[in-house]
Amino acid sequence: MSDGFSRRKFLKVLGATGGGAVALSGCSGGAAEKLIPYLVPPEDQIPGKATWYASTCRECSAGCGLHVRTREGRAVKVEGNPNSPINQGKLCALGQSSLQGLYNPDRVRAPMERTASGQFQEISWDEAIARVASAITQQGGDRVWFLTGNEAGSFDALINEWLAALGSSGRVSFEPLGYEALRHANNEVFGLDTLPSYDLAAARFVISFGTDFLETWMNPVENARGFTEGHSFADGSMGRYVHVEPRLSMTAFLADEWIAPIPGTEGALALAMAQVVLGEGLGTAPRDARRLSETLAPFTPENASSVTGISADKITTLAREFASGPSVALAGGVGAQHGEAHSTAAAVNILNYVAGNVGQTVKFGPDLNASAGSYQELSDLVSSMNAGAVGVLFVHGSNPSYSAPGSGFAAALQNVNTKVSFSRFLDETAMYCDLILPDHDPLEQWNDYEPRAGAYALQQPVMRPVFDTRQTGDVVLSVAGSVGVARAGLAVATYKEYLQGRWQQLQRRLRDRRPFETFWLESLQAGGVWTDIPPARVSLAASAVNIAGTVWSAPTGGYTLVAYPSSTMLDGRGANRSWLQELPDPVSKVTWSSWVEMSPHTAETLDIAEGDIVRLESDHGSLEAPAFIYPGIRDDVVAVPMGQGHTEFGQYAKGVGANVSVLLDGAPTVFGGQSHYVAVNVSKTGAHERLAKASGQNRQMGRGMAQATTLAALVGEGHGDGEEEHRGEHAVPVPEHVQDVLDRWQEDQWEDTRHGNYAGEHPRWGLAIDLSKCTGCSACVTACQAENNIPTVGKEQVARGREMSWIRIERYFEDGHDGEPVEIRLLPMMCQHCGNAPCEPVCPVYATYHTPDGLNAQIYNRCIGTRYCSNNCPYKVRYFNFYDYPNSADPHFSWPEPLHWQLNPDVTVREKGVMEKCTFCVQRIRGAQHQARLEGREVQDGEIQTACQQTCPADAIVFGDLNDPNSRVSQRSHDERGYHVLGDLNTYPGVTYLKKVRNTVAS
């Protein structure tokens, strides 16, 4: 496997379908290759056809359901499970990239132990388990500690049971995105140390207090769906969304209004709003809310105005809007987790409570299991380690050496006799361990997870393990046997049996009387069991009044640094995946790097240009990173995303960017978390680097590509048009004599257009993209990369503008000059499949042409790489293979073994010198057409989903036949908001965009 591989091996990856040629046909050569049949036909595999398995995504705490597409025994694509109530068939970019976790070339391939020389050496599993057992015996069961990430399910139960059997109480959970502030606030205001679920679909007014609910907060995919359902324009109305944060995050892109208070004071705004709601008797406050009147009395809009810097009128208006209908206020985002974040969250709880939202849009009862443990617990573990109380430490699913450098965890490890890591990677924590017992990837595991109370999601192995790894549950059970504590529940041979035992109990609890085997198989097939838990009745706790004592203030001195979780890599767990590294950040569009966001005013003050390396110094550490100038951030704030700056972990993560966590205060806050705000000094180093940004322009220059309108314009008199609003901003008026020529040219082109489009009985495939729904999350970009075998090209090539991603999210700034509010416009841009495509006539070899069903086709084997098509494309959506990305001998090799196992066998892998671009997932179109033909029927509307559409959490993309007037895409395309990007070039695109709608005036 490791001896390099040819392009042909990519495609026909396995066994029965074989791969290879005797160089008899086509243009590629090669030695005789083999067809290797199965010994016994697998029941559930048909060579050449996909087999799907339901499982659960474990990349973050959301617990989305998965449908994994496998071909010939290998997972090649993940999609959302439509049965799962969490994600309803959708996935985020991180979830899409889970295959790169499975096939990551840097995975630990076998158990290893540290030798006397400090190197790791492979050992057998039997040896490994014997080592662990002897360490436990030697140290004593009560000196065993177990650190995990967020677990909720059978594995969690097993660890607790196992530790109890050993006589240990050393269970610690640490989740870097742990929502400690929100849990603390829920406890203080309602007496509940839990995280409720939020019903964003039901809310017509959403106000977020620094909560990145479309990026990382709780379950972003569910949030995106609910939010766009409740907020986006439909049938003449829409919701309203106000975002309150010093920084305009990706989540705030769709905000109708962005309010940037003085950092750390947003809670005062929430309290003042609550005061107005209660004082004016708005909303449907529960009876006991009156108890707060006295507490809230000092928080008048005027007082809050002086604290937050927001005008009193604004606060009053917001409060009235908030109470006027179904609404929700959100708090607890990690990016706004300052030292008083628990008070902010408490204030927001009070605001929700007095407006009557608790029980309606905020539901305690169906609680989310989005976090477990706390930073405080980790900090206590460090103290115990330093005190010599920890003899054997097991680490699973957590990497505190990287994510909490200020905690002193890495140094404290020296005081632990035996450190055992279950990490799948040699990450910063595993590197300090004595034994590494690599766990299966989640896609290779039997397991379960309870994303929220009443939702039981199952994981099943979708393929055989890639490496000699072993599931931690099985290892733990073996160790229990070796040290002689395998009693009661632990007396099972495998973790799968343990899991099934728990599911038998679950079946009894659910009063399901069918045979267990039926229940189990049906649950596996569905991906889990979903029950509804009604919202509990909640009342105010006595401690709710404690909020009165809060002092709302920002860190003093210098600039306030905000360390916010990356929307794609979260706390850094996704950093060793080339797809995510190359995925342009939704805000900065930067790839393969960290950056420091600062406002144009700050940059001017400090004489910093984009790409200048700046140095940030806090009391706790320092870092250097290039500057990114962003009009969506306050002048007194700088921001750096988390997730980069790994010193270990793997080839894609190591040495990329800087770890912002080193700047943060390591001491736990009063709410048991870590403050993500810290005062920093910003200075220029004099060095400069060209940011590897995947965007050419930050502004539209009057070209009107990403258009927007307002709700008032759509429902009011006269139907204002966003196109005019931006067209003409810089457009030069056309002289009369030129206009005449243009008109005639247009007429001629129209004739061609009809030829090109093959009007008639064929379908014309097209997309409709609703910009009032697109959140910018970029899940579509990664989904496309996965589906279409798109290589990653690396930082240097991206900086040269040679990225290969077929779909990109263009992000434009509107306004935002001299302190006026900035608006963000988004535009998912892929090949427009023009009916009159400029690329087609310039190809000298007919490699690009128009298919009868309206696709702008690119035939790789015809392409000779003149690049004329790309030069003539007004949308810049054609990508050229400058290097031989699939060739292991090429320095730009993109799929080191076993990453290439993921390649989609239905799509040709392109080689050097070939142009490529979006195909509308033609392999899916042809696949559906073939299937329909076999079944003797027509292709149904909705049967074909492009990869981008299928994963889009906001359901912004619709694909289908434009010639069918009843198709969803036709109907959307005829929406009054529909327009074509650069449509005046007469390209007759197959992609229709629906203008973004802003609800600028309170409705």
Partner: protein
């Protein structure tokens, strides 16, 4: 033809083999039109050096299985009707008959050895299209294109060789003749 029919064909073949009688069934099975009128008898002695096509790890004879005993192609190439890939018989498919019959034949012994050792047979691929070409077997089989049109009279081949050029022009000739799609993206994507 459904699964039952395929099984029927197999049973017929097995029964006939067991009693050592040459197949007399004159009926052509779908997807495998024999060209000559009378019963086909595979030659007993062949000069293996003179044969076309790559030499396989086991001297498996299509002419005996598909020709003389008239086994349906799809008994072994079991997914040709439903998948792009025709399917290569698993060892257990071979052993379905050869655990009983063929004792004493050194080539059958190779198969039995592989089966008992849990080893697969690495056949040399004869028909291959370049990777930028997608050929859906199921569409062609269901359009009643016989296997022989592309693969030749395999049921008479002592050793399988590539019969057709498999060049694009050759594909297109047939597509044009039948009036079916000649769009590039029918095969290239």
């Amino acid at each position: 033809m459904g699964r039952r029919a395929i099984l029927g064909a197999c049973l017929t073949a097995a029964t006939i083999l067991a009693v050592g009688v040459v197949a007399l069934n004159p009926g052509n099975t779908l997807g495998q039109e024999a060209t000559q009128a009378g019963p086909f008898v595979a030659p007993a002695d062949v000069d293996t050096n003179a044969l076309r096509g790559p030499r396989q790890p086991i001297f498996y004879r299509h002419d005996i299985h598909a020709g003389q005993y008239e086994m349906d192609c799809r008994y072994c190439h079991y997914t040709a009707e439903v998948s792009s890939e025709p399917g290569i018989p698993t060892i257990s498919t071979c052993m379905g008959c050869h655990s009983i019959i063929g004792s004493g034949n050194p080539e059958v012994q190779k198969l039995r050895d592989a089966s008992s050792e849990g080893r697969s047979i690495e056949w040399i691929r004869v028909h291959d299209l370049p990777d930028h070409t997608h050929f859906p077997h199921m569409i062609h089989v269901n359009a009643e294109v016989t296997c022989q049109e592309c693969h030749g009279e395999v049921q008479e081949m002592v050793q399988v060789f590539q019969f057709a050029p498999l060049k694009m022009g050759w594909c297109l000739d047939c597509h044009i003749e039948r009036g079916v799609t000649t769009d590039c993206t029918a095969c290239h994507y």
